[in-house]
């Protein structure tokens, strides 16, 4: 049975962790990594909903996040619109964009769907590179500081708290959504589209909605990232960023909200840890992905559940 306020142990644990870890941060660099992890996790929650619950793979979400970020930044720098309002306009624009492209895209299945999102993503990234008068081209452009109703975000702790709050709040909404009749429809689409269709569910309508939601979240996270780092470049919208996001979701565990967070955190931290290996960085990164996909294709969260299941079984 659904509870009115769905404050469960998982969400409390996450909040506690988020509150405690800053005490272990030694300098701003730690904060930076943490904030990027949080923003990536945010995108992954939306992407996970699309991939894990609605069964639709997107290889273009990096580009959507990047484009959303660019829209917000350009509105601010060229037209002097306040950050919060420019993010809002970016969200509206990107949802419209996502809704329009979702119609032809979501008719496609499996590989073809993945390829269409890949194609759109790469086109976006090329446009951002070429239209340098607007975007600063491949060099990127600097971004004004972030304010909410005149309150300026300057130090890392403020950003950390903003992103943490956003993540916890989003997770809370999503767990509500996934456990609701709406969420059941999504899960049924993943289970059997024909079954869903046979009880009156307009499958493509729901796929569109989820696609739009995931793009909206990517836009918010992408814009915040631009404001946080004070800089935006087409690499945010690159194919490799899109791939990174998909790998995060799958590595963490498809269809598991907390899996997406684990994946995002690990894959954001990992390259930083690997920098000490210098030339071997890419090699090790690739090897780890291969290793995980061979030995735990259902992601890290599933391994955790397996272990937990065995522990409980042995207790009986």
């Amino acid at each position: 049975m659904l509870k009115r306020y769905n404050i469960n142990r998982d969400i409390l644990t996450l909040s506690a962790i988020l509150i405690i870890i800053p005490f272990f941060f030694q300098n701003d660099f730690y904060y930076e990594i943490a904030i990027v992890s949080l923003l990536n996790a945010l995108i992954c929650i939306g992407l996970n909903m699309l991939m894990g619950y609605a069964g639709q793979v997107s290889l273009g979400h990096g580009a959507f996040a990047g484009l959303g970020g660019y829209i917000a930044v350009i509105l601010g720098s060229k037209y002097g619109i306040t950050p919060l309002f420019s993010i809002f306009i970016a969200v509206v624009t990107m949802s419209l964009f996502a809704f329009i492209i979702s119609k032809p895209i979501l008719r496609l299945k499996g590989h073809y769907l993945a390829m269409a999102t890949l194609g759109i993503g790469i086109i976006i990234s090329i446009v951002l590179n070429v239209e340098d008068e607007l975007t600063g081209g491949s060099d990127g452009m600097s971004v004004d500081s972030f304010t909410i109703f005149g309150y300026e975000f300057v130090d890392s702790l403020q950003w950390y708290m903003l992103c943490s709050f956003l993540l916890v709040f989003t997770i809370w909404m999503f767990s509500n959504l996934i456990d609701s009749p709406f969420g059941r429809v999504l899960r049924s689409i993943e289970g059997s589209e024909k079954a869903a269709n046979s009880v009156g569910i307009n499958v493509s309508h729901y796929k569109s909605i989820v696609f739009v939601i995931s793009v909206v979240i990517a836009t918010i996270a992408g814009s915040l990232y631009a404001f946080f780092s004070g800089f935006i470049s087409p690499s945010e919208a690159s194919f490799s960023h899109s791939i990174e996001l998909v790998v995060m979701v799958v590595l963490g565990g498809l269809g598991r909200i907390y899996g997406a967070i684990i994946g995002a955190v690990i894959l954001t931290i990992l390259p930083q840890l690997l920098t000490s290996f210098e030339d071997y960085q890419t090699l090790i990164y690739g090897s780890i992905i291969i290793f995980v996909m061979i030995f735990m294709p259902k992601g890290i969260a599933s391994v955790y559940e397996d272990v937990k299941g065995r522990l409980f079984a042995s207790n009986k």
Binding site: N176, R187, S198, G200, I201
Partner: protein, 253 residues
């Protein structure tokens, strides 16, 4: 209730259903039988909007429903089950039944995110009703089991019960007992006769002759996409054309 007027469906050069006309009376269990490849499932797929009708019309209670999509037909009171089981294995048994009530439930996006009262109320009301339906087929105890862990026979029943959730006026059962053992077949026949037939009209596509003869009010026989014969079970058993059509496939009525 349902009027099918000379519908035709071609695949490539082959007419899977050829100028087929049929009338289904309200409250009847109307069976459609015929040898493999006679076009029965194609017909079901045309009625339920999965395939587009090449020519001809289909009327439900006087309203044209030709080529209306499956999900919209549910709101007109038509629901179906599948020859190849279509159950959401990733959901629990209860959730699969709840899916049947989906068309009545509030699914507003923001309301769902914030657990509005209407969402909680709907969920509670329809969970009770879904449990009641599960009770009818004796599956209350399995309500929280994942559907993928259950046997084929149980899932076949579950599919029918799920369809009942949509409160259909007309339900199309595409081979509901295919692949089941005699005991399970009997259970499904009982389910169809007692529970389903009380409230709804049924179109039954089935190969199991014993069952068809047992439950049907009226039977239409198809062969090569055309109507071969129709009548009450007694009339069909004694129809020479039907016997001839079936001799090849080895089924003796």
């Amino acid at each position: 209730m349902l009027q099918i007027n000379s519908v035709t469906k071609q695949f490539g050069g082959i007419k899977a259903v050829d100028d087929f006309t049929c009338r289904v009376k309200k409250g009847h269990i109307h069976s459609i039988i015929g040898p493999n490849g006679a076009g029965k499932t194609t017909l079901v797929n045309m009625i339920t909007g999965v395939y587009r009708v090449d020519s001809g019309t289909i009327f439900l209670d006087g309203a044209d429903i030709t080529n209306i999509s499956t999900d919209k037909l549910v709101y007109r009171g038509i629901c179906r089950t599948f020859q190849n089981l279509e159950i959401c294995g990733n959901l629990t048994v209860l959730e699969n039944v709840l899916l049947g009530f989906d068309k009545y439930m509030d699914k507003g996006l923001l309301k769902s995110c914030f657990r509005a009262k209407s969402i909680l109320d709907d969920e509670k009301r329809y969970t009770d009703r879904a449990k009641h339906l599960l009770g009818l087929i004796g599956l209350e105890d399995l309500a929280d089991k994942k559907a993928e862990n259950l046997s084929y026979g149980i899932l076949k029943k579950l599919e029918i019960v799920r369809a009942l959730g949509t409160s259909p006026e007309l339900i199309l059962l595409d081979e509901p007992v295919a692949g089941l053992n005699p005991k399970e077949t009997q259970e499904i026949s009982d389910l169809i006769r007692t529970v389903v037939a009380d409230e709804v009209t049924i179109i039954l596509v089935e190969h199991d002759m014993k069952m068809v003869m047992q439950v049907s009010d009226y039977i239409t026989v198809m062969n090569f996409g055309k109507k071969l014969a129709e009548g009450t079970p007694d009339e069909i058993v004694n129809n020479q054309d039907v016997i001839r059509a079936y001799l090849g496939s080895g089924v003796v009525c």
